[in-house]
């Protein structure tokens, strides 16, 4: 056991002391917000700085009205189609919307002309406005006052509250749960690949440089493999921990900074005549905050760390076995499929099934089977999972990684001493069968 500890220490320190580790650990939490910030800044800059785009509208019904926005202004005229087209051609107008005389029950033949393909946003904006106007007009024609319609228009928001067996009620917001499940699942997926790969590289290094002979004459192959897997896992946990602290720190600074500016912004928004939307917006924010407060972060972090470690150990052993079976990293391809496929199933399952319906049958099985559970279960945990599901899934994951380390140990033990022979699945199977 002392020797395993020595290996763990070496694997851990030799990685943590590298400059590249320090850079990656410190820069990653800074780089991602920075990239997002740059995109936001560019987007905001573009909408505010770009010249107002004028769209010529020729409406032969004299019925439609389009409200100008920050980006688009609409000029209504009775110019001929040809004239309007030439306005677009010589660049005086951004686009030209032609509305022919319409049969309101079957409104066909509306055409938009422009030099460039219109964006999805513009098209749906135009369609929604025209559609509403046509509906109003038809209601009016059948004798209903548009004022009456407006008076009856209502907005419905369903607030969801989770009830647990103790009768505690929590406001929940599916979007928040979705985001947390999504983030946690992806993080585990990425971590398994990054650190699994490091295990494989480490094993190949020891094998190809023949250090392995000296090591194996001092320590049992299984101890060496476990030491390596645990040591590198500890590097991953350290990195994760530093990220949590850094991101936490940075976001509280950022929130603090913007929080200071909040009052002024709110005053500005209060002068906005569209009060109803404003209040709705606030309610959403309130719900999100309530949901975040309702989530048991302690429990969430614990389950995250458990599934992170469990998934890492399960797959890490396989990565070690692959590293032992090959001589150079370029040969890894042929053995990666059995590792990649279940991970991808977990990853796809997270998006297609688990996050959309965490309680469906497929979601249940994905979160129980050890090969997919580390990713899939994280999608369910944020929504709340029955205790027995969680216990079963965790128990199976532990069994799973014990099994995978046992199998991998058998391949590893023989593979690390074999050089220059082509290894295929048949050879691997023979190694697993040998005692």
């Amino acid at each position: 056991m002392d020797k395993v500890w020595l290996v763990i220490k070496r694997e851990y320190l030799s990685r943590v002391q590298k400059k590249s580790f320090l850079l990656a650990t410190i820069l990653t939490p800074l780089v991602f917000p920075a990239i997002m910030g740059i995109f936001l800044w560019i987007a905001v800059d573009e909408t505010s700085s770009s010249a107002l785009r004028i769209i010529e509208v020729v409406d032969e019904n004299n019925l439609f009205f389009l409200e100008s926005s920050e980006q688009y202004a609409f000029s209504f005229s009775n110019t001929s189609i040809e004239e309007a087209k030439s306005l677009v051609q010589n660049g005086e107008r951004f686009g030209f919307l032609y509305i022919p005389k319409l049969d309101l029950t079957r409104p066909n033949g509306i055409i938009y002309y422009a030099e460039k393909n219109p964006s999805m946003g513009l098209v749906s904006f135009l369609e929604a406005n025209l559609k509403r106007r046509i509906e109003e007009q038809r209601l009016f024609e059948s004798g209903i006052d548009p004022e009456v319609i407006n008076a009856y228009r209502t907005k419905v928001d369903i607030q969801s509250i989770t009830l647990d067996n103790k009768g505690d009620e929590k406001i929940s917001d599916a979007t928040v749960n979705y985001a947390i499940g999504f983030m946690a699942g992806i993080l585990i997926y990425i971590f398994i690949f990054i650190y699994g790969n490091q295990i494989m590289q480490g094993v190949i290094e020891e094998k190809s440089s023949r250090i392995i002979e000296i090591l194996i004459s001092s320590i049992r192959p299984f101890q060496l493999m476990m030491g390596k897997i645990i040591g590198i896992g500890a590097v991953g946990l350290t990195q994760f921990l530093i990220w949590v602290i850094l991101i936490g720190g940075i976001s509280s600074i950022v929130i603090g900074y913007f929080g200071m500016q909040m009052p002024q912004q709110q005053v500005m928004e209060l002068t906005n005549p569209d009060m109803s939307q404003m209040i709705n917006g606030d309610e959403n924010v309130y719900n999100i905050i309530q949901t975040i407060q309702g989530i048991n972060f302690f429990q969430l972090t614990l389950t995250f760390v458990f599934y992170f470690l469990g998934g890492y150990l399960l797959y890490g052993a396989f990565f070690a076995a692959v590293g032992a079976a090959i001589d150079t990293p370029s040969e890894a391809q042929q053995f990666m499929l059995p590792i990649t496929i279940p991970l991808l199933i977990g990853y796809m399952g997270l998006f297609v099934f688990v996050l959309n319906d965490p309680n469906s049958n497929v979601s249940f099985w994905l979160s129980i089977i050890p090969f997919t559970s580390p990713i899939a279960m994280m999608g369910r945990v944020s929504y709340g999972v029955p205790f027995w599901d969680l216990a079963l899934s965790m128990g199976l994951l532990i069994t799973g990684f014990l099994f995978s380390t046992w199998v991998a140990g058998k391949v590893y033990r023989i593979g690390i001493l074999i050089h220059g022979t082509k290894v295929n699945y048949k050879t691997l199977w023979r190694w697993i069968k040998t005692n």
Partner: protein, 299 residues
């Protein structure tokens, strides 16, 4: 007393036989030469002694006890294919290997510092291996093998990769270790180092042990019973079939002993002239090696 008793070892990889019924006794103290052409089974035998792999049949006794993981700290091993962590510093690396062999941290530090000074590379202790020359790295590798003060030291081709000066240093270290009472097993193709260093040898060929014994005994066993004679004489007196070479009146030639005893041969030679030197030809290890390999390859 035997330090290592190897009893009826069998090992095969699939249909390839690596060891067939190999038994050897390696006495305590001295240098034991393990000879054999490439692919004979030497590395397999060494790996079994180092508990890297297990034999299919047979057993190895270390000081009378069946080989056990606890013996690992008593054995040092320099593999033929050298390897160190390229990115690790010399100091950290040696400490790591010493500790893996079960040495306490404090002793490990003392020993590493002692050996670095002895091999004259203490100023390199904070360098990474990939910053060292090949010879330097070999020295570090050698230290890593003996750092834990093993009782049995197994060196697989210890001189490969060293320039003549450093090879000499390693040779002196090997002799010094022998004088300290450490048992060394030397696996090599270089027969001149075998003659120079080894007390006992064993030869393995195509998975079989074909030869074992002390260097002198083996040479005796393979002596061609020929004598090399120099004498001062008139060349006309000599029978032609001696094939003598004559230089400044001194004839040198080789004759088989035949039915005679050495003394009878000497008396016969005296008739031809004044005998200056008369000695038996002993085969070099190289000759024995090649002869044996050829013989067993044909049989």
């Amino acid at each position: 007393m035997e330090l290592l008793e190897i009893q009826h070892l069998f090992k095969s990889y699939g249909s390839n036989k690596a060891l067939t019924d190999v038994s050897l006794n390696i006495p305590k103290g001295g240098i034991f030469g393990l000879l054999g052409p490439n692919g004979a089974g030497k590395t397999t035998l060494i790996r079994i002694i180092n508990q890297i792999i297990e034999a299919d049949q047979g057993q190895v006794l270390f000081k009378g006890e069946k080989l056990h993981p606890k013996h690992i700290s008593r054995i040092g091993y320099l593999p033929e294919e050298r390897g160190l962590y390229k990115k690790m510093k010399v100091w950290d690396q040696l400490i790591y290997f010493a500790r893996l062999k079960g040495m306490p941290a404090v002793t490990a530090k003392e020993k590493v510092s002692y050996w670095l000074k002895k091999m004259d590379i203490i100023s390199w202790k904070d360098k990474r291996i990939d910053d060292l020359s090949k010879g330097m790295a070999q020295k570090v590798q050698f230290i890593s093998t003996i750092i834990h003060e093993p009782e049995l030291l197994i060196l697989d081709e210890p001189f490969s990769g060293f320039d003549p000066i450093n090879a000499e240093i390693i040779k002196d270290e090997i002799l010094e270790l022998k004088n300290k009472g450490i048992t060394l097993v030397l696996s090599t193709h270089r027969m001149e180092s075998v003659e120079l260093l080894c007390d006992q040898i064993a030869m393995i060929h195509k998975s079989y042990k074909i030869l074992e014994g002390s260097l002198e005994n083996i040479k005796q066993q393979f002596r061609p019973n020929k004598y090399k004679i120099s004498l001062i004489c008139d060349s006309n007196n000599l029978p032609l079939d001696f094939g003598a070479q004559i230089k400044n009146g001194l004839a040198t030639f080789t004759v088989p002993l035949g039915q005679d005893s050495p003394n009878q041969l000497l008396v016969k030679m005296m008739d031809f002239g004044e005998v200056v030197s008369f000695h038996e030809i002993l085969p070099s290890m190289e000759e024995i090696f090649i002869q044996q390999v050829k013989e067993y390859s044909n049989g």
